[in-house]
Symmetry: none
Subunit: 295 residues, 2 copies
C-alpha cells in the first residue's frame, strides 16, 4: 500500500482532474501535508477518508494499493456476508479484501461491517464446521485472513492523536477468540478513541495492571467462551475493582448469558458493535464537554 499519494495519483485513482484534487486539498476537504518545497502529499488515510465522505467513484483502486475491481458501488450487505464467507472458505484472500474495502469505502461504518458481514460469516462458518462440511483448519485460516485484513483497514484509518481518550481491551485467559476484540479496537478508533488491543488470553492480573498503568477512559472485555463461570466471575471481579471511577468497563460477546451478566457490574453490555459504537460516542462526547467546561 502506498503510504503517501501525490495529487496526480489520487486523481488517477478517482478519475477526476488533478486540478480538482489540488483545489480540494486547499479547501481542506482532503487532509494534506506539504513538503517544505510546497508540494502536496496526501496520506493514504486522508485519501480514504475523502473517498468515504464523498460520492466519487474509484476507477483505479490499484493506484492506492487496493485490489483491482474494488468499487464504490458494491453488493448489498446481506449478499456481501455470503460472498465474504465463500471467499474465506475458498481461501481467496484477495477477493475477501476486495469485499471488505468496497464496503468500507461506501462508506459503511465498521460496526456495521462487523455486525452484518464478519459476524454472520463466521457464524455460518461455525455451523458448517459443526455439521462437518468444513474443516477446523479452514475456519482457522479464515480467522487469520480476516485478522490481517482488519489490520489493513486499521492502517487506512486516521491515526489516533494524543488528545483522543484512551481505551484498552482484550480477552481473558482461556479465551483465544481475538477477532471480536480487534473489531472493537477498530470501531473505537473510528469513533475517535485512542484504542489499543492488548491481546487475547490475557491473565486477569496483567489486565488489571494495564488499567492502573494507562488509566484509560474505557476498557472493553470480549467474552466468547467461558470455561468456568466461578473462575470467570472471580477474574471479572478483580478487573472491576481495578478499574476506578474514571474507567468505563464495557463487556460483550456470545459467552455472556443473562445469568452471568446479572452477577457482573459494568458500565455497558453491548449486544452488537453498533451498540458499542453508540455508547462510545456518547461517552466520548461526555468527556469532551466536561473537559470543555473545565477550561
Amino acid at each position: 500500500m502506498e503510504l503517501r499519494l501525490t495529487p496526480k495519483q489520487l486523481a488517477q485513482a478517482t478519475g477526476v482532474s488533478e486540478s480538482s484534487i489540488k483545489r480540494w486539498c486547499d479547501l481542506g476537504e482532503i487532509a494534506t501535508i506539504r513538503t517544505p518545497g510546497g508540494h502536496r502529499r496526501i496520506p493514504l488515510s486522508g485519501a480514504i477518508e475523502f473517498l468515504r465522505g464523498s460520492e466519487h467513484e474509484l476507477i483505479a483502486p490499484e493506484a492506492l494499493g487496493l485490489p483491482a475491481g474494488t468499487r464504490r458501488r458494491s453488493p448489498p450487505l446481506d449478499n456481501a456476508a455470503e460472498l465474504f464467507r465463500i471467499a474465506l472458505e475458498a481461501n481467496q484472500e484477495d477477493r475477501a479484501r476486495q469485499i471488505l474495502f468496497e464496503l468500507y469505502l461506501k462508506p459503511t461504518p465498521l460496526a456495521t461491517i462487523g455486525d452484518r458481514i464478519i459476524g454472520p460469516a463466521f457464524q455460518s462458518i461455525g455451523h458448517r464446521w459443526e455439521a462437518g462440511t468444513l474443516e477446523v483448519f479452514q475456519e482457522r485460516r479464515a480467522l487469520e485472513i480476516t485478522r490481517n485484513l482488519l489490520h489493513e483497514i486499521r492502517l487506512a484509518q486516521r491515526p489516533p492523536v494524543r488528545s483522543d481518550p484512551g481505551a484498552i481491551g482484550g480477552t481473558l485467559s482461556g479465551d483465544n477468540y481475538a477477532l471480536a476484540a480487534i473489531l472493537v479496537e477498530l470501531v473505537l478508533r473510528e469513533s475517535g478513541w485512542r484504542a489499543e488491543f492488548l491481546g487475547s488470553n490475557l491473565p486477569v492480573q496483567t489486565m488489571a495492571m494495564a488499567l492502573r498503568a494507562e488509566q484509560p477512559k474505557l476498557c472493553w472485555l470480549s467474552v466468547s467462551h467461558v470455561e468456568s463461570e466461578t473462575q470467570f466471575l472471580s477474574d471479572y471481579g478483580q478487573l472491576s475493582s481495578a478499574s476506578g471511577d474514571q474507567t468505563a468497563l464495557v463487556v460483550g460477546g456470545r459467552g455472556l448469558h443473562g445469568r452471568l451478566r446479572q452477577a457482573m457490574r459494568f458500565s455497558a453490555y453491548c449486544e452488537t458493535l453498533e451498540h458499542l459504537e453508540t455508547f462510545a460516542k456518547t461517552l466520548k462526547a461526555a468527556h469532551a464537554s466536561t473537559a470543555a467546561s473545565r477550561d
Copy 2:
C-alpha cells in the same frame, strides 16, 4: 551528547527522498551541523523544529524519540534488536515499523531479521518479564504489534504464484505462540514457496486433514511449548503418518529438546530460520529439477 541523525535516517523517518533532505539542510530549513569531514548531522532539536514548522507529519514520529545513550546510528544488527525491543516495550509501533522496514529494504533476508532481531528482542522481553521488570500485557502487546508489522511486510512481498510449491504450517493444540510460525511463512514466501500459515493452537486432526486436502510439498510445525510430552509425541505421530512421501515435514522451536527430537521422524529440524531458509531453497531446487526432467 545529543543524538544526531544522518540525512538518510531523517529521509526514511519522513518518507521523502534523501536528496530533498540534503537540499533542505543546505537551504537552512533544517538546522544542520557538519562533521570535520563535511557530512551533515541533524541534531534532534533541529529535526523536531523542522517537523513542527513544516507540519510534515512523520511516518515514524517516534523515530526521534530514541532513548538517550544510544550513540550509534542505524547500526549493526545486534543493536537493531535492542532498539526494536525498546520500541516494542514503549509501545512505539511506528518506531518498530521503521526499524523493521529499514532492515527489510536494505535488503536483509527475512530469516536474518527473524533470527537476529525479532527473536532476540522477544527473548529479552521474556527475561525481563520473568525478572518482574515487565508486565505480561506489555509482552502481549509487543506480540500484537510485531504480528501486524509482519503482515505489512507480507503485503510488500511478491505474491506467490500457482506454480510455486505449496507449504502449510502452524502450531499444535496448547501452543499459542504464533509469531515464529508466521515468520516461517514469510521466510518460505521469500524463498519462492506458496506458504500458508493455518493458525496456532491447531488440533492435530485438522492439520492432518489439511495435509491430505492440500498435498503440500512442505509442512512446518513450530513448537514453542510442550505441555505433555506423551501427548505431543502422539499428536506428532498422527501428523507424521498423514504426511506422505511427497510432503517434507519440518520442525523447529524452543520446545524441542534433544530427547524429544530423538523420538520424532522429520525431514528437517531447524534451529534457526536461516537453516530453514537454506533447507527450503534446496528442497525447492530439487522439486524444480525433477519437474524439469519430467517435461
